[in-house]
């Protein structure tokens, strides 16, 4: 039995409007095992990025923690002070982002940006940190790492910059890597390389990955388990194989149906009708009600999670 590194229970994150808390992330729960890759999939604005930022204590101004609990190695995260947060960020949980082109500071050399990370968490000399930085660049497959270490971000391509971001994120050997749409801004061939790289490094370092994406293809490529988010809530949780074989929630089915299929001769792609309701204007029942092809009266009341064939799904269809 693998150890559980992260446990998120009933996480609520949102903003306050007219003294009323409006959650963007509403009661999200999941666990992450050591060495596991968990995918979080959903449309833009479903709260998947907010979930990841709350794990780093880096919520944008105006957005705050409204409830729930996050345990990192059994220790609650939500009560930590800024000083403690700084020991967690980079050291325990590291993060890479969607836009490799703007993720690195343009005025500092690549090596110095990695060295800053290492020396922030470990007491070692600049020289040693530099050696480690070059090692990390080698690990992520950067050609000529001893040259690149003294180059500036603009001298590298987007794919190379994302490799540098990964090298930097992993330089302090974190337990968890949060990857927020790490391949969305990259060419398809580069995407595959980056995902491949993340998988191989994960195996070497035995770390856990939380991969946030809207791309089910990416999920299929690298994840062990997936949670599907809709309008700030988790609607389904399953292993990757189960999710693609037998999606349970109508929203998951819709997402899978809207993927292009090479065997399908239809000219237009399937879509899910309608739009996601606004955070301040959520229905009291199932949040997918308005757009759901299987909606019925019961759905006006919020469904509970139910376990069907090893999958957790939040839908009345499976309640007897």
């Amino acid at each position: 039995m693998a150890t559980e590194v992260l446990k998120v229970s009933d996480l609520k994150v949102g903003f306050t409007e007219d003294k009323v808390d409006v959650p963007i992330v509403n009661g999200v729960s999941f666990q992450l095992q050591q060495g596991e890759t968990l995918g979080i999939v959903g449309e833009s604005g479903c709260g998947k990025s907010m979930t990841s930022f709350s794990l780093m204590g880096l919520l944008p101004s105006g957005i705050h923690w409204q409830g729930g609990e996050v345990l990192l190695d059994g220790n609650p995260l939500n009560v930590t002070s800024q000083k403690e947060w700084r020991k967690i960020r980079g050291k325990k949980i590291a993060m890479i982002f969607q836009e490799p082109m703007s993720s690195l500071n343009p005025v500092y050399k690549i090596g110095n940006q990695i060295i800053e990370m290492i020396r922030n968490h470990e007491t070692i000399s600049k020289k040693e940190a530099r050696v480690r930085a070059i090692e990390m660049l080698t690990l992520v497959g950067i050609p000529r790492p001893d040259k690149v270490v003294d180059e500036y971000p603009h001298q590298l391509s987007g794919g190379m910059r994302q490799r540098v971001m990964i090298a930097m994120a992993l330089s302090c050997n974190p337990e968890i890597l949060i990857a927020d749409e790490p391949t969305t801004a990259l060419d398809v061939t580069i995407q595959a390389q980056i995902l491949e790289l993340m998988k191989s490094i994960q195996a070497k370092m035995d770390m856990s990955i939380v991969l946030i994406t809207h791309d089910l293809g990416v999920i299929a490529e690298v994840c062990d388990r997936v949670i599907v988010m809709y309008a700030g809530e988790v609607v389904e949780e399953a292993s990757v194989a189960d999710l693609f074989d037998q999606p349970k929630h109508p929203y998951t089915k819709g997402l899978l149906n809207s993927l292009p299929n090479i065997n399908n001769e239809k000219e237009r792609l399937e879509t899910i009708e309608g739009v996601v309701p606004a955070p301040a204007d959520m229905p009291s029942g199932c949040r997918f009600y308005e757009r759901c092809p299987a909606a019925h009266e019961k759905c006006l009341v919020q469904p509970e999670f139910i376990v069907v064939d090893n999958q957790k799904v939040k839908c009345w269809l499976y309640h007897q």
């Binding site: 780093m56 880096l58 800024q82 947060w85 700084r86 020991k87 967690i88 960020r89 980079g90 050291k91 590291a94 993060m95 982002f97 836009e99 703007s102 993720s103 690195l104 500071n105 343009p106 005025v107 050399k109 800053e116 990370m117 922030n120 968490h121 500036y152 603009h154 001298q155 971001m165 930097m168």
Partner: protein, 308 residues
């Protein structure tokens, strides 16, 4: 880099030739210097002709311009009609006070504007920011002659702490520097604030925070360093402007700078001094600009490496 500097120097040369033409012809539109020289007296026709000839003003305009340029390339700016001193000496005499005042103004502006701009941006919307923005607005709105006079009234006349004029001690530099610097700090603080706000939104700031480094390191090392880029150009241009444009403050504080020299020369239609003064200021301005661009390439690696 050498190619870039060569290109800039050529550019500079063209600018200076254009300025020399403009100032040469413009000053000749202000009237005849010879009549001013005689003041209220009634000069004889012969006397006027004699002096006109002596000053070379009887020659055609293109010819005069040619002579002026020929001397200029030999660093000969001519001799003042008024004092008969070489113009270059007059300017060099005034250069140090002007430079000192410009530096003083810049130091005051930087010392005030950097912290105000940074804190305003970081505490956007908080009371500190509102205070900072009001301060900036006041700085921008105050006419500098008024501020100068107010400072004199408070610190020289009432409190008797600092001298109101003169150029003999460090304390004499304080009030004129404050006048120039306070005005400049208003605009500079605004610029830094907005530049910081742009930078703080960037992804690499989130990256820096995600590394677990201290907030002030993120703000100064990662944000401010980038926010400085657009500011440096502005500061360079302003420094150039301070060198030539501190005329009013020089008048208020009786500061013996180049600005006052040129204003007096214009009043007296002292062509060589006006031409020489403006040309020297133009050269300084262009050189400052060049230095700013070169310094820009030091703080912005994207320019240095010739890509991006």
């Amino acid at each position: 880099m050498a190619k870039y500097i060569m290109k800039r120097l050529l550019h500079t040369l063209l600018v200076i030739i254009a300025i020399s033409m403009i100032i040469f012809f413009a000053i000749r539109l202000t009237g005849d210097p010879v009549t001013v020289m005689f003041g209220a007296g009634e000069p004889t026709k012969e006397a006027v002709e004699q002096i006109t000839e002596k000053l070379g003003l009887d020659k055609s305009l293109p010819e005069q311009y040619f002579i002026f340029m020929k001397d200029l390339v030999q660093f000969d700016l001519g001799v003042s009609y008024r004092s008969n001193q070489p113009v270059l000496d007059l300017i060099l005499e005034r250069a140090w006070p002007t430079f000192l005042l410009a530096m003083g103004g810049m130091v005051v502006a930087v010392l005030i504007a950097f912290p105000v701009g940074i804190i305003s941006a970081v505490k956007k919307g908080k009371s500190v920011d509102i205070f900072g923005r009001i301060f900036s607005l006041i700085g921008i709105s105050f006419p500098n002659f008024w501020l100068g006079i107010m400072l004199i009234l408070i610190f020289s006349v009432s409190l008797k702490w600092l001298p109101a004029s003169g150029f003999d001690s460090f304390s004499a530099l304080i009030l004129p520097s404050l006048t120039l610097g306070l005005i400049l700090s208003g605009i500079l603080a605004r610029l830094i604030r907005s530049s910081m706000l742009d930078v703080l939104k960037m992804q690499y700031i989130t990256t820096a925070k995600s590394k677990g480094i201290k907030d002030w390191v993120v703000i100064i090392k990662h944000a401010f360093r980038n926010a400085l880029l657009p500011t440096v150009t502005f500061m360079g241009l302003q420094f150039g402007a301070l060198l030539g444009g501190a005329v009013i403050v020089e008048q208020v504080f009786a500061w013996p700078g180049i600005g006052r020299l040129i204003v007096d020369a214009i009043n007296q239609r002292d062509y060589p001094v006006v031409q020489g003064g403006v040309i020297v200021l133009a050269i300084v301005m262009v050189v400052v600009n060049l230095l700013v661009d070169l310094s820009y390439s030091i703080i912005n690696p994207r320019i240095r490496t010739g890509r991006g």
